[in-house]
Symmetry: C3
Subunit: 139 residues, 3 copies
């Protein structure tokens, strides 16, 4: 069992591919024959998901969709808006997308599909750096 | 590996912070140096998520949002409404939010961010008591 | 720790109960006294969720809801539509529903609630066969 806390560089609002930013910091993964990598974000206004790793327009389209589905123009219906229109909407997006992803490890590598990557979903206009905890269980 | 079934007290429709209701019943967590706590709900009309633990209006705003996004006034488009307008909508909300959360454990404690807590999302008007299974893997 | 890659038979667009299609291929689960089964889909246009296992209209209603919430008539707002109107919408649905489910194992069986089953959510018009990785951690 390996556990490591990682601090991601601040990213602008939107969806970002972070598979290598995380796993370049965990070389021990090569020793795991089979297991699970659990990636957890310690925040409630940014989230993690797995999606398409090749075409950057998928990340743009995700931002377009979620800004429409959880709209800041509805912020008037919310009470928790101390920090602006992107405050409560960020909490909602986080719960829809989730605070962790978990991925099988096979023969020393993440066993992702060809087109899969891990996204950091930064929902705040100014989110700052984000803390991630990676826990690897395996043998 | 520790596993325990917990019965949560019935809660009214809405979002409820349940971190201590669950983990006060699992004192063994203090013995885990590093690991994962997996929390699973055995129902399809209530769900679990991680969100802001301090301001109760976040929980109210979550209820406001999900009632709009998965509206009971759309229940006429659904077939599975035997138990009322909150029947199918509860199933949908459950799949959007998810039936489990998993959280790293570090030095005998849940390694949550400062502002994170576990929510029970009760989607039914009268959900009754809810069964949770907590599984802890660690060393 | 048991790990197995499973290929699901191609399914038509919509929500499908796949608990037995998966676990009939993992008889070793009977040897696990307590643990976790992690089920992961290696695709970004199909997803996994847990929902009602008895009434097939729940699966139809799920498809109805998600087609409305992530509408193909909004495809004009997206850039990633090379493969048709169901391309980007499938990626979005996948992130909302998620690429994995994890379920406690107790006394050799999935410890699901009476009404819970695992769904494959096929978001593409022609998704083809889908690869699943099941990882079981337990003792």
């Amino acid at each position: 069992m390996i556990q490591k806390e990682i601090i991601l560089k601040p990213k602008e609002r939107g969806f970002h591919l972070i598979t290598s930013e995380i796993f370049s910091q965990i070389p021990e993964i090569t020793e795991i024959k089979k297991g699970i990598a659990h990636v957890f974000i310690k925040h409630t206004s940014a989230s993690l998901t797995i999606n398409e790793n090749a075409d950057p327009t998928v990340r743009t389209d995700m931002e377009t969709y979620f800004n429409k589905a959880v709209s800041e123009s509805d912020a008037r219906f919310f009470q928790h808006t101390f920090e602006g229109a992107d405050d409560m909407t960020s909490h909602i997006k986080s719960s829809i997308l989730g605070s962790s992803v978990s991925i099988p490890i096979t023969n020393g590598k993440l066993n992702l599909g060809t087109w899969q990557g891990i996204y950091l979903c930064e929902h705040r206009n100014k989110g700052g750096s984000r803390k991630i905890v990676v826990t690897i269980m395996g043998e």
